[in-house]
């Protein structure tokens, strides 16, 4: 608990939120990159189905999505059973892991869509040129496709990060709003609003906004500075 402008604010949710948003962004970039690359290179009609599937988490209201995730990830459900085979202990829901799993799932389209479109825009000729210089597929991906898709990564990362910070429905459902464990800022603000503590709500909202504004501006500024324009 710290006092800001004479208003008591608990810092735990803030740190937790940043942690979850950070992990989610990281995981989504790690998972989303190969997925997006693979999808970008697909020619067949299965690509269309995949594209649509990736966008689906958007269609359900977050609370409802959270509700279904709750059912799927429940400690006696198949997913957990399956993970137990690999020595997983504990529970996917009502823990930080649960928050991250839910956010990863929910923010998937924000990571995959911009990445895929960025990858599709990488000129084939440049990849060809790299191949003639003995770069194998991995090498070409990391040295040509990735740097040229920098903008895509930026959009993916900022949308994912911002969206996870503002995420509410899924984390409330999956996390359970346990103080110090799964209570994120969004839930905290909501609770303050619900219990008429508007001052705290305003303050927290303002803090999140200002902080996010700073982070976003920093990211965009760095991007301008080091960004490449292709074509």
């Amino acid at each position: 608990m710290v006092e800001i402008f004479g208003i008591a604010v608990s810092m735990d949710p803030i740190w937790l939120t940043l942690e979850v948003a950070g992990w989610t962004t990281l995981i989504l970039l790690l998972l989303g990159t190969p997925l997006a690359w693979w999808m970008a290179r697909l020619q067949s009609s299965s690509k269309i189905v995949l594209e649509a599937l990736v966008a689906l988490p958007l269609v359900l209201p977050p609370t409802v999505l959270g509700f279904y995730l709750l059912i799927i990830l429940n400690p006696n459900g198949y997913v957990t059973e399956f993970l137990r085979l690999f020595g997983f202990e504990g529970q996917l829901t009502f823990s930080k892991t649960g928050l991250i799993v839910g956010s990863v799932f929910y923010s998937l389209p924000f990571a995959v869509q911009p990445l895929m479109h960025a990858f599709e825009a990488v000129p084939q000729k440049l990849l060809d040129a790299a191949a003639t210089m003995r770069a194998n597929a991995f090498d070409r991906f990391f040295t040509i496709a990735m740097p040229l898709s920098q903008r895509g990564f930026l959009v993916a990362a900022t949308l994912t990060f911002a969206h996870t910070i503002g995420e509410f429905g899924v984390v409330l459902m999956l996390g359970g709003n346990v103080p110090g464990e799964t209570r994120m800022v969004s839930i905290d603000i909501f609770d303050h609003v619900e219990s008429l503590e508007y001052d705290q709500a305003h303050l927290l909202s303002a803090m999140m906004l200002i902080f996010s504004l700073c982070v976003l501006m920093l990211v965009y500024a760095l991007n301008r500075r080091f960004g490449v324009k292709v074509g």
Partner: protein
């Protein structure tokens, strides 16, 4: 640096469909030695063939082998990066997120152990981009980009160097410098080159063999000599027929370089490399005049005795005269039909071919 190397053959037959266009090379067997030029009109499939040979197009079908490496069989193909090919693309294809230096070093860093890159400073200096190494490639002029692309491929000393119209955006002086550079590196490192160009002058300067392409097919493969001995060679452009004479170069006399073949002697006013023994001399048929007697008081100093092999009437009231020099080499002369009649030329006649020294290029 000079290494002995056996000649490998690039052999096979390749198919590739691109929309309406069908590449169907037909069987080929190209000795990979010196420069092999792909020649043909715009749209004849030169770039497509070169891409197919490099394995850059996944839809390529057919057979291809280089020496005893199998590069393609049916749908299966060896990945481009395993073919150790260098490629200069028609439009440079520089990496926009790297500086010139990073572009140049991209391939160098990936060379396997045991293969040494060419000397960086030398190549960069000769290509003329030494002062632009740290610039982003988007800030180069058209010609500068092409030079970087050339340097990038030359540095690697690949097994085969593919060049798709590498000099088209250069001014003639840069072109000449670059041609010399390519020639020298090819000789020094023994890199076989597959070269696309529209410029007959580049062909005659560089080519060992020529692959003539037409409508997606390889029409024929000929040595430069063979290609030039045909009167209807597609190589003959608006400058007309060309002959290439080979001879021994002797030491300079009065500023001129004598080139000896048989009993004849040509005086060159220019010869770039003094340490070569045999040289190629390119003679445009329209630079050759004929005289029934050995003339005097004339600025033309090369008077070669020759015999008329053939008289080939051409368009525009011209006459192409095929001559045999006394060591057996062939020479074209192009004159007007009016002159031919006036001099009463006939097959078998002995006469003198006059060539200005300054019109000769090595």
């Amino acid at each position: 640096m000079m290494t002995e190397q056996t000649t490998h053959y690039l052999r096979g037959r390749l198919q590739l469909e691109l929309g309406n266009f069908k590449l169907e090379s037909g069987e080929f067997n190209l000795p990979m030695q010196g420069v092999t030029v792909l020649f043909g009109r715009s749209g004849s499939g030169k770039s497509t063939l070169l891409r197919a040979i490099s394995g850059l197009d996944k839809n390529t079908r057919g057979e291809l082998s280089f020496g005893d490496e199998l590069w393609q069989r049916g749908k299966k193909s060896l990945a481009t990066q395993k073919r150790h090919i260098g490629f200069v693309f028609q439009d440079a294809a520089l990496f926009p997120h790297m500086t010139v230096r990073q572009n140049l070093l991209y391939g160098v860093k990936r060379l396997p152990k045991g293969i040494e890159a060419a000397d960086f400073d030398e190549i960069v200096g000769r290509v003329g981009i030494a002062d632009k190494l740290d610039r982003g490639v988007n800030f180069l002029s058209g010609g500068e980009k092409q030079r970087v692309a050339i340097a990038r491929a030359l540095l690697l000393r690949p097994q085969i160097l593919c060049m798709d119209e590498p000099l088209s955006a250069l001014d003639w002086r840069s072109k000449a410098e670059m041609l010399t550079l390519i020639e020298e590196l090819v000789a020094a490192y023994q890199i076989p080159v597959l070269y696309i160009t529209h410029a007959p002058a580049e062909v005659e300067r560089l080519a060992q063999n020529i692959v003539f392409m037409k409508a997606g097919r390889i029409e024929r493969v000929e040595s430069l000599q063979e290609a030039l001995s045909r009167a209807d060679s597609p190589l003959f452009d608006d400058e007309g027929a060309v002959s290439v004479l080979q001879g021994r170069i002797e030491s300079e006399e009065r500023g001129l370089h004598p080139v000896v073949f048989g009993e004849n002697r040509l005086w060159l006013s220019e010869a770039s490399t003094a340490d070569k023994k045999t040289v190629r001399v390119r003679v445009l048929a329209k630079d050759v005049s004929l005289s029934l007697s050995d003339p005097e008081h004339l600025s033309i100093i090369n008077h070669l005795s020759a015999k008329i092999l053939e008289l080939i009437p051409e368009k525009k009231h011209r006459m192409l005269v095929r001559l045999q020099l006394n060591d057996g080499q062939k020479l074209f002369a192009e004159i007007t039909q009016f002159s031919a009649e006036r001099l009463g030329l006939e097959v078998g006649q002995e006469l003198f071919a006059l060539i200005k020294s300054v019109a000769l290029t090595e």
